[in-house]
Amino acid sequence: MSRSTMNTALKRLMTEYKQLTAAENDESMFTAGPISENDFFKWSCLISGPTDTPFEGGVFEAELTFPRDYPLSPPKMKFNPPLFHPNIYASGDVCISILHAPGDDPNAYESSSERWSPVQSVEKILLSVISMLAEPNIESGANIDACKVFRDNREQYDEIIRSHVRQQLDI
């Protein structure tokens, strides 16, 4: 990887961070920023559970890892601790179309949906993830158990998630 791509990545991440902090307010659904000033390629973000979903009231922590050639390649996103959700692997890794480059489709289900391109951004990723929480896509599931419960027994699915949220908030 050449020096210049790395500089581009760094410059771009700094700008994105600046814009995100500037736009932040009480209404924001998420916050995101580098974990340490020494490493701009690892971000931590907090996402609040969307209203009118079982995730409501919860706050979920995730980590974004950017490649050196960002924004040519997409970052990776991982919930820590993992979330029970059809599109999140048991390890916490998020499987969503916007995080895949076109042509790189592990399940070959996502041809029509939005793919990674250099004009996407952290903001767009997080917004997509929030809408993914509200509306799972069980066509290309990452967690088969979650897919099954979601499809066959919605009430149980909601309950699992609510208890997860309660547990997280310590109530």
Binding site: R12, E114, R115
Partner: protein, 526 residues
């Protein structure tokens, strides 16, 4: 990924194809654009090239040795072909040449299909191929107050947009294209960076953006796609070989033709599947056989051959010792291993099951078991022989080295000259080649239904096998200085005989394909 300076094409021509071309009139049976020539068998034994004796056309099942030319300008020839096609489309559809090239690549160089689809609906065809209708030339431009969406930079640098008008700064574009070309080896499918935009970055634009080195790689990749997309061209699969071969063969012909070709690098392979020479098996059989050997379909056969099922709950049970009074672990059912009947009927008749004849236990079950046992045995019979020859071929590489030593020894201890001891090298070469053929006859025999034709095939196979083993034995013998002349005589004779047997087998088998003489034991999907 291939190295940067690899320039791929040189199209090879096989020297032999001109030398032995007895059936020139055959060409007409193939696409006449190519000069398919039947060169019968391999270079080792041109004299046993027997297809010439056959009635016209018989040889085509053998191999259609390839062909474009081998002169230094051959890579130019590939480019020339592309240029001609581009010019044709350009003229026909009144498009710019870059557009024509993108369209052709999208349609995998199928001109007729392209023109037809385009005539039906020009707009949607262009859009699908990633060409924006307005066709504006991508040009570098400075735009005041422009903020690039990729690097978020506001500096007034040069910017570029494709015809879709998604504008980014030049350095971002250059980085993007460079990484696509260098890291991903992409060429004809590089798209605009905008999200959901499929407009293709054409050659002219790439020229504007990247460094000379990258551009060269881009062009060579682009050229590569021409061969990859073409059904009548194929790269020689030998390592480090840069030749492409041409052969007009349709996939549906592969069940009766084995298009074996030889590249200028001397690698012989099947044009249909790209695998190493697998005559006399046709591609569908080869695929099936290799799959059978690789996957675990035989595991289930083993299970059914070596285990029995509990007559009550159908758990699979392998008996690895103990008496015949079985108690199923999962359902606690007690039964006799010998007759599979309930143990309660046995009384005290331990180890001595007299009920077998009376009741026969679960007759159907037994039948199925013995059947699958037989099928496993049958498979193993062929597989062992197949694997055995494969192993021998590997060992013969060592043999070749030993032979070289032997040849030196001979030159020292006798009056034979270098050229006179070459018979040993030739014998080893013949041995390897015939073993390869033998190996595949076992795969073929496995799928053949039992009938008279198969019996003939197996006779031929046995003859060849015997001849091959005879030759092999001869070569393994320690060198007796007294008898070098005799050895030479014997080896030469045997080598010729083996080659002949091999040729007979191949000729007959291939003629069989043509006459539709082979009947398969199971339905083979061709």
């Amino acid at each position: 990924m291939a190295s940067e300076n690899e320039i791929m094409t040189d199209i090879s021509d096989d020297d032999y194809s001109d030398a032995f071309d007895p059936d020139e009139d055959m060409e007409a049976e193939f696409d006449d654009a190519s000069s398919i020539s039947d060169s019968g068998f391999s270079p080792i034994e041109p004299d046993s090239h027997s297809t010439g004796k056959d009635p016209k056309g018989k040889g085509k099942a053998v191999d259609s040795m390839l062909t474009l030319d081998n002169h230094p300008g051959a890579s130019e020839k590939l480019k020339e072909e592309q240029k001609v096609a581009v010019a044709y489309v350009e003229e026909m559809l009144q498009l710019k040449s870059e557009q024509a090239a993108v369209l052709l690549r999208y349609f995998a160089w199928k001109k007729e299909k392209l023109v037809e689809t385009y005539m039906d609906s020009p707009e949607s065809t262009l859009a699908a191929a990633g060409i924006h209708e307005n066709g504006a030339q991508p040009r570098l431009k400075r735009v005041r107050g422009f903020v690039c969406e990729v690097c978020y930079d506001e500096m007034a640098q040069e910017t570029l947009a494709l015809s879709c008008d998604h504008r980014f700064c030049k350095s971002c574009y250059a980085q993007y294209v460079t990484s696509k070309v260098v890291d991903e080896g992409e060429s004809r499918r590089i798209q605009c960076m905008g999200s959901k935009c499929n407009v293709i970055v054409d050659e002219k634009t790439v020229e504007l953006l990247v460094e000379e080195e990258v551009l060269e790689r881009y062009r060579s990749l682009l050229n590569r796609t021409y061969v990859d997309d073409s059904t009548s061209l194929r790269w020689c699969p030998a390592p480090n070989c840069d030749y492409a071969l041409k052969c007009h063969i349709l996939p549906r012909q592969l069940d009766s033709i084995i298009p074996t070709v030889q590249c200028s690098c001397l690698h012989t392979f099947c044009f249909g599947c790209g695998d190493a020479d697998h005559r006399p098996c046709c591609c569908p059989i080869v695929r099936r056989w290799l799959k059978k050997c690789a996957d675990d379909s035989e595991t289930s056969n083993w299970i059914s051959a070596n285990t029995k099922e509990c007559t009550k709950c159908h758990s699979t049970i392998e008996k690895n010792g103990g008496c015949n009074h079985m108690t199923c672990k999962s359902c606690k059912w007690e039964f006799c291993w010998v007759c599979m009947g309930p143990w309660s009927e046995h009384g005290t008749a331990w180890y001595n099951c007299s009920r077998y004849e009376e009741k026969g236990g679960d007759a159907v079950n037994q039948d199925a078991q013995s059947k699958s046992r037989a099928s496993l045995e049958r498979y193993l019979h062929y597989y062992n022989r197949f694997a055995n020859h494969e192993q021998s071929i590997k060992l013969e590489h060592e043999l070749a080295t030993r032979m070289e030593k032997k040849m030196e020894e001979m030159q020292e201890h006798s009056s034979l000259s270098w050229i006179e001891v070459q018979f040993l090298a030739k014998a080893v070469e013949t041995l390897t080649k015939c073993r390869t053929v033998l190996k595949w006859t076992y795969a073929m025999a496995f799928y053949l239904a039992k009938n008279n034709h198969t019996a003939i095939f197996e006779d031929n196979q046995a003859d060849l096998e015997q001849a091959v083993e005879g030759l092999s034995e001869l070569l393994e013998k320690p060198l007796d200085e007294e008898k070098i002349a005799e050895l030479r005589q014997q080896t030469t004779d045997k080598t010729v005989y083996v080659s002949k047997r091999c040729q007979i087998l191949l000729d007959d088998t291939l003629r069989g394909y043509e006459e539709d003489r082979w009947h398969w034991a199971e339905a083979i999907k061709m």
